[in-house]
């Protein structure tokens, strides 16, 4: 069954459409990356899928039911979102922050039940932040914070995860750590959809790449099909060369310095 089904949706901010007549199906267990130039509508599409933006036209179905029919807590139990940045970095401890992912699962008087503790510890272990549980968010490095945010998302639910630029601004060690975590979760059955700015990470890790341009889907397919130099060049307006990555066998895109179309 399709986890997401979007039918000719149009959406935007203050009457200006950012997404125009877009349709998309996502099956359970897929690993999808979304790439495209700034302002193409990638984040907006993710917000439509997480229910943060209600499209002006068209329909969004999640697990076969219209998204807006879900009660907020019920949806929160089935869908985790990692946004670009949290708005405030308060002095919560890592454990307290990961525990907030249990919020939609808990009764109002429960602080941390045994079942919660198991999930929190599993999430911390999966993301390798077990040693940070007693530290405060304000004390973490950018890479550590991003791992903790993914642990928070996992303690909320580990079946369907949407991520907006989860590895931007991180060093390559944390980038690979996070992409590996997502890859393993996907191998264990999770549906993962991530907005990425790095075409080559998208190529190495995902089963399907969606290229977005001007509020619509420009291409949509396996990395080997869509990462052709002519398609990437017209998606981003640059000149580039595509070769194979010797470690993964997936396409690797090199932009050519000095050539902007």
């Amino acid at each position: 069954m399709n986890v997401f089904e979007l039918n000719s949706i149009t959406a935007g901010y203050g009457g200006v459409p950012v997404i125009r007549d877009l349709s998309l199906k996502i099956a359970g267990g897929e690993f999808i990356s979304m790439i495209g130039p700034n302002g193409a509508g990638k984040s907006t599409l993710l917000k439509i899928m997480s229910g943060d933006i209600i499209p002006g036209a068209g329909s969004v179905h999640f697990n076969g039911r219209p998204l807006r029919e879900y009660r907020p807590r019920a949806l929160a139990r089935m869908l985790s979102v990692v946004h670009q940045a949290i708005e405030t970095r308060a002095a919560y401890t890592v454990r307290e922050f990961i525990r907030m992912g249990r919020f939609p699962h808990q009764g109002s008087l429960v602080v941390e039940a045994d079942s919660d503790r198991e999930v929190i510890e599993w999430a911390a272990e999966t993301t390798g932040v077990g040693h940070l549980l007693d530290r405060r968010l304000t004390e973490l490095s950018g890479g550590e914070l991003q791992l903790v945010r993914i642990a928070h998302a996992l303690s909320q639910n580990s079946r369907v995860i949407l991520l907006d630029e989860p590895v931007s601004h991180l060093d390559i060690q944390h980038t690979v750590m996070i992409m590996d975590i997502l890859w393993k979760l996907n191998r264990d059955g999770a549906t993962v959809m991530a907005v990425l700015h790095d075409i080559n990470l998208a190529s190495d890790y995902s089963g399907r790449i969606i290229g977005m341009k001007e509020g619509g889907i420009f291409f949509n397919g396996e990395p080997g099909e869509v990462l052709r130099y002519d398609l990437v060049e017209s998606l981003f307006g640059t000149a580039c060369i595509v070769m194979d990555n010797p470690t993964t066998g997936r396409p690797f895109v090199y932009p050519v310095p000095g050539y902007i179309k």
Partner: protein
């Protein structure tokens, strides 16, 4: 330090402070004699001062301090602004206009309190509806609260300009915060209501944790706008009740939550009780200082809290600059 020790310390400080507060004033009563005075029964001047004046006043100070601090804690989290306080959204401006109008019209104590409460609720509703039209963003709320605050204080000054001087003095004393109207009947009903509201908002401690991390974050965890509305209105009611009983007492709702967050951390399960205790102690101490600094004159408690609050703010800003 472990939490149980912190609780023991808070209770000890509270007890000592209460005794000091009951003892100080124009007439100093030795705490050792207090049991004798109380057992001696009504009739002595000391009994009247202790049981009929100082005790209800100390209790009122604690109730008001606690509810202002709890209200401030909630507003800081809902507005995601560590410098927010209940007065920022028009609670005090509306109450001031209502109370001033009541005093100028020669209304009695309860009518003034009722007018202040009505003004407060009207102002909050206006701010709420205005910001809702701008989709309830926290900056829209703060900005419309500030704008309305200017209009309301202009209206208060207009009432002053048009009234006689003896009434203006009474109204100004109200504006500076005044706990001298404390009586047991008022404490019973409103103290109970305040406790109920504080306990209700404390039951939302997990919601507040999530809300304090941002609108999208809390929405993705299933917190609804209805939840946010609920805590917003409970906090508003707490502040409105406090202001209508004791006038505009500034800074309690700002510095106490701030300090408690630094000491006890941001989790509301601990923060709300800590703020309640801290607010109660802070206002009791401020009122005791105001009563005993220059007897027989009483310095209105709002002046003391504003002095202390302003000083705290400067120290805080200097420390923050130095910490960079």
């Amino acid at each position: 330090m472990k939490t149980p020790y912190k609780i023991i310390i808070v209770f000890t400080v509270a007890l000592v402070l209460l005794l000091v507060s009951l003892s100080l004033g124009t007439r100093i009563i030795n705490p050792v004699d207090m049991t004798d005075i109380i057992l001696g029964g009504a009739g002595s001047a000391d009994y009247t001062i202790l049981v009929k004046l100082r005790l209800p006043r100390a209790l009122l100070a604690m109730v008001i301090g606690a509810s202002l601090a709890v209200s401030g804690t909630v507003f800081q989290s809902v507005l995601k602004n560590p410098l927010a306080d209940p007065y920022l959204i028009g609670v005090s401006g509306g109450a001031a206009l209502g109370a001033t109008a009541g005093i100028v019209l020669n209304a009695g104590q309860y009518a003034v309190a009722a007018a202040a409460f009505a003004g407060s609720i009207a102002a909050i509703s206006a701010v709420y509806l205005l910001s809702k039209r701008m989709s309830l963003g926290s900056s829209a709320l703060i900005l419309s609260g500030m704008a309305l605050g200017f209009i309301l204080s202009a209206a208060v000054l207009l009432v002053y300009a048009l009234s006689r001087s003896d009434q203006i003095h009474r109204a100004m004393l109200w504006l500076m915060g005044d706990l001298s109207g404390a009586r047991y009947d008022m404490l019973g009903g409103l103290g109970g209501l305040t406790l109920l509201l504080a306990l209700t908002v404390a039951a939302f401690h997990k919601h507040l944790d999530v809300i304090s991390l941002g609108a999208t974050f809390s929405k993705n965890l299933g917190v609804t706008e209805g939840n946010i509305r609920t805590v917003f209105w409970i906090a508003s009611l707490l502040a409105a009740i406090s202001v209508s009983l004791a006038g505009v007492i500034g800074f309690v709702g700002l510095i106490v939550p701030h300090l408690m967050r630094n000491i006890f951390g941001p989790r509301h399960l601990r923060l709300i009780p800590a703020a309640a205790a801290g607010g109660a102690l802070f206002l009791l101490a401020s009122d005791t200082i105001g009563r005993s600094l220059a007897p027989p004159f009483e310095i209105p408690v709002g002046i003391i809290t504003s002095f202390l609050g302003g000083a705290f703010f400067l120290v805080y800003m200097i420390r923050r600059e130095a910490g960079r």
